[in-house]
Symmetry: C2
Subunit: 157 residues, 2 copies
């Protein structure tokens, strides 16, 4: 890649936003899973910009997601750590970065992923949200002890 | 919105690509469904740029998808018509638009959506691809006559 092309790519990656959230340093190729984990699927009203697998000096390849007019809550931000622990979050107000933070792996996630065990009480008609402890081995169901060891995005409700 | 802001948005929507496909004039909010219909879901190796709900003089709001290093085939392009019939396709080579075309609704789609009828032969273990005729009323299963009248993206395999 020439310097010119690299500069062009860097300059024009995705539009600037006046207000909202920029999620940067997402693991290469994981942006669609990040928007899914934020509850953005199918037809959307959100003003969203996404770039995947762009060259990054530190990471080789990375993804970027910009979400206009929405500041993500700590709970939403930390869910991203489940699939992309190096992600950084920038809150933008009037084109300026007002807050910059990392993502912290949550210890407990409720109502985000479906337990793969069909017999789990969280899969019945009972009004019970799924609940998982986040452990080094994966997501551990608090009800039936099932462990989701891989493909967390594939289990998002 | 001021003129400056509008110009900025237009200028910086998503990065230019050297080679690949630009899908423009996607109905506002449908970009994630468009990438799904192209078979791009979850973790991806594709170099993708997406912008949703950007202001458009003709359409009010529109979405744009750019896909680097991949020229879509006619079959892939026409599938987009199922969810966004006004979409336009630009094939880019060395930063120049080499081909510009609309999308044509296909008359038959095979292996793209799952028949909602659990008893349909396309849902058994038989080696049979789903097959639907595209009619004004929706997608008509060639095997069991079930009609998918809405939410085509929700039925994509």
């Amino acid at each position: 890649m020439t310097n010119t092309e690299s500069a062009e790519n860097e300059g024009l990656l995705v539009r600037r936003i006046r207000n909202g959230t920029v999620i940067d340093h997402i693991d290469g190729g994981e942006a669609l899973n990040v928007v899914k984990i934020l509850g953005i699927t199918g037809t959307t009203q959100e003003s969203l910009s996404i770039a995947t697998n762009v060259p990054s000096r530190d990471m080789g390849r990375k993804d970027i997601v910009k979400l206009a007019n929405r500041e993500l809550s700590k709970e939403e931000v930390d869910r991203i750590a489940l699939i992309s622990p190096r992600a950084t979050i920038n809150i933008i107000r009037n084109f300026k970065v007002c807050e910059k933070k990392g993502v912290e792996t949550p210890s407990l996630i409720e109502g985000l992923v479906r337990c793969p065990n069909p017999g789990c009480i969280s899969n019945t008609n009972e009004p019970i949200l799924s609940k998982f402890r986040v452990t080094p081995k994966g997501l551990h169901c608090c009800y039936c002890d099932w462990v989701i060891a891989k493909d967390v995005p594939g289990h998002i409700i």
